[in-house]
Amino acid sequence: MFGARIAGKTGSSNLMPVTTAVCAGNRAGQEEKRLIMDDLTKMIRDYVVREYIEEGDDREITETTPLISGGIVDSFSMVSLKRFLEKKCNVQIPDADATPVAFDTVQSIVSLVRRFQKT
């Protein structure tokens, strides 16, 4: 699933609704945990595609595509991405942890968010 090309963008400037379950971190079992993880990954990946890839650009964005080192998201844009994550996932990411390495892939961003989610 994560290696697949994003078939299209939502095209809307409205931010994608996210269920509370995605970010609240109230996980019961492994299956639910995986589902939660997938939803979170999808949400972040969709946001990156929608906001950082030009309409018509056919570049693939996968879970492991380098975003910062690959020049898709630059260090200035990390601020809006961080703001998005904090708001949608109800987390506070300290500036010291918002490093280019932590924001370099969808996978690393997911790990970062999960680290600061309330358990």
Binding site: S13, R83, V101
Partner: protein
């Protein structure tokens, strides 16, 4: 004892003819930067020497000798002439840091046309403003950036050719043409257009307080300054492997990312990748980088990543380190001494100066936090902001000013004579920055003298941001000011008053931030938006940014009576 000449030795009897002699230029000769940086080096017996080691973020590597860049720039020049590009026309380079950007720069200059490099992260509005102002004839770009050009091409009647370097067999649209540099038959001989010292060469856009960005026009004679400053300040030597972090969309990336090193016949390495501390250290280690020209923002980001990462790499190849963009803080100098065993040498200059003008020379004692001293041949001072007379009091802050006449000084702003003339007072060129001079003649940066925001070493004009903010349906009025930032020195903060029917919210803030990022560039994106009911204004309705800026910097606003009655 240092083997470097002392500052006194460098400045004694200095004349720019030193550079002219070394470059083999005599007054009245034809002078072409494209030829000087490729054909001339080959004629010096360095045709097989590596000119460019290029690597992308995936580790793909390409190598080009001086003969390669000579022939490939001929090939590009031949292609452009075939399209009908005329001398003096503006040809824009709108690409990531791919080889075509560096070699294409030389190719454009060989045709006698003007190279107009633009930062590839610019959004369509930033791109439109600059292409429209310059009446650009052709743009050389990549598949991923042509999408932005397509959005605006119908508003650009002068733009006849959209050249895509990696289009392959992809279908082309109106005015588009595919050009694959390395697959096109190589042109061994090209008759370089006979430009002279004063022929326009490079057009870089720079931001001011008022109005849209200004096109700073350089001429081919700029190479006289760029060659010698690269040699003396960056301390380039024939066996060096040099790395300049700057993107050629900005002046550092052309003056010292193309012209300076190649005029000196140096091998330079380019990493076409975003920031990544480990990636950068690996790059230095792999290519045995000996001279590194970086920026304070990047250095502070490296500091954030910690010292352990540095220790995991063998960086003993580094011989000389320099920095440019915004003032290099003392902590960064001390850190580099600790982890690299070398100090970053701060350099000061700007788009309009074309070359380093105040600097820390190799071998000169560094005072951490200081900008250094004027380059030989540059007469600098600080001026009283009211009388525009030089300040002789040690340590007193004033406006940094330079006596006009050094080779790489811009000759004019494109179609903006009034803007150009406004940069001069009492026979001095005003840099727009404030500094003080200590008893040893070292300059110490104090701050900007205008509302321009220096973020990560790039100047961003408030007017451009405010204009783009007003395009958002929720924004009634706005002001963009600098806000202090520990990494980028300053970032953009926007104050926004909303139209009736709109309420401040996190969603709206994020939407406005992304609107600016996409329309202008990530640099221009406000890192913070404060919603307010009304902006401070003069009686005549002009927004007083100073009030907002002082609040951000926690500085006293001072007497506003004159301003408020304006």
């Amino acid at each position: 004892m240092s083997h470097y000449p002392s500052y006194q030795q460098l400045t004694a009897n200095f004349d720019w003819s030193i550079s002219e002699r070394e470059l083999g230029y005599e007054k009245g000769d034809n002078l072409n930067i494209g030829w000087m940086c490729s054909d001339r080096i080959c004629r010096m017996g360095k045709a097989d020497k590596l000119a460019l080691i290029w690597e992308d973020h995936q580790g793909t590597e390409k190598r080009f000798t001086y003969n390669d860049i000579r022939v490939l720039s001929n090939t590009i020049a031949h292609f452009l002439v075939g399209l009908g590009i005329q001398p003096g026309e503006r040809v824009c380079l709108f690409m990531d840091r791919v080889p075509e950007l560096y070699i294409g720069f030389l190719g454009i200059l060989k045709t006698g046309a003007v190279a107009q490099p633009l930062f590839s992260a610019f959004g369509d509005e930033s791109l439109f403003v600059r292409l429209s102002n310059a009446q650009t004839t052709a743009i050389i770009t990549q598949k991923k950036h042509v999408l932005k050009v397509r959005k605006i091409r119908n508003q650009l009647p002068n733009l006849r050719h959209i050249i895509v370097v990696d289009a392959g067999d992809a279908p082309q649209q109106e005015r588009e043409i595919s050009f694959a540099m390395e697959k096109t038959p190589r042109v061994e001989n090209f008759e370089v257009y006979p430009t002279n010292a004063e022929t326009p060469s490079v057009l870089h856009y720079t931001s001011g307080t008022t109005g849209q960005p200004k096109g700073a026009q350089h001429v081919h004679y700029s190479i006289i300054s760029q060659y010698l400053t690269a040699k003396w300040v960056l301390d380039l030597r024939s066996d060096d492997i040099y790395w300049c972090n700057a993107d050629p969309g900005w002046v550092t990336g052309t003056s010292y990312g193309i012209i300076g090193p190649w005029a000196n016949g140096i091998t330079q390495a380019v990493l076409d990748s975003g920031f990544g501390a480990e990636r950068w250290y690996k790059f230095i280690e792999k290519h045995r980088i000996s001279v590194w020209y970086s920026a304070p923002t990047a250095i502070r980001l490296l500091m954030k990543e910690g010292n352990d990462l540095v220790k995991m790499h063998n960086l003993s190849c580094l011989r000389h380190l320099c920095s440019v963009g915004e003032p290099l803080n003392a902590e960064a100098v001390i850190w580099s001494r600790e982890v690299f065993g070398k100090e970053f040498h701060d350099t000061f200059w700007q788009t309009e100066t074309g070359c380093i003008v105040i600097t820390n020379f190799p071998g000169m004692p560094i005072k951490p936090g200081s900008m250094g001293r004027p380059f030989p041949g540059i007469t600098a001072t600080v001026l009283n902001p009211v009388t525009y007379e030089p300040i002789h009091q040690i340590g007193a802050a004033g406006l940094i000013a330079l006596r006009p006449g050094w080779p790489s000084q811009i000759r004019y702003y494109w179609n903006n004579e009034a803007g150009y003339q406004a940069k001069f007072k009492n026979g001095w060129y005003l840099c727009g920055d404030r500094a003080s001079i200590d008893s040893d003649g070292y300059y110490w940066f104090v701050g900007r003298d205008d509302d321009v925001i220096n973020t990560g070493g790039h100047l961003v004009g408030p007017f451009e941001i405010e204009s783009a903010l007003l395009e958002h349906p929720a924004v009634a009025e706005s002001a963009a000011v600098a806000k202090p930032d520990p990494v980028n020195m300053e970032v953009v903060k926007a104050f926004v008053a909303l139209k009736p029917g709109f309420q401040p919210s996190d969603d709206l803030e994020l939407e406005i931030m992304n609107h600016i990022r996409k329309r202008l560039s990530p640099l221009a994106m406000p890192q913070e938006i404060e919603f307010i009911d009304a902006l401070p204004k003069t009686r005549s309705g002009k927004i007083v940014r100073r009030v907002l800026r002082c609040k951000e910097f926690n500085e006293p606003v001072g007497d506003l009576s004159t301003i408020m009655n304006d």
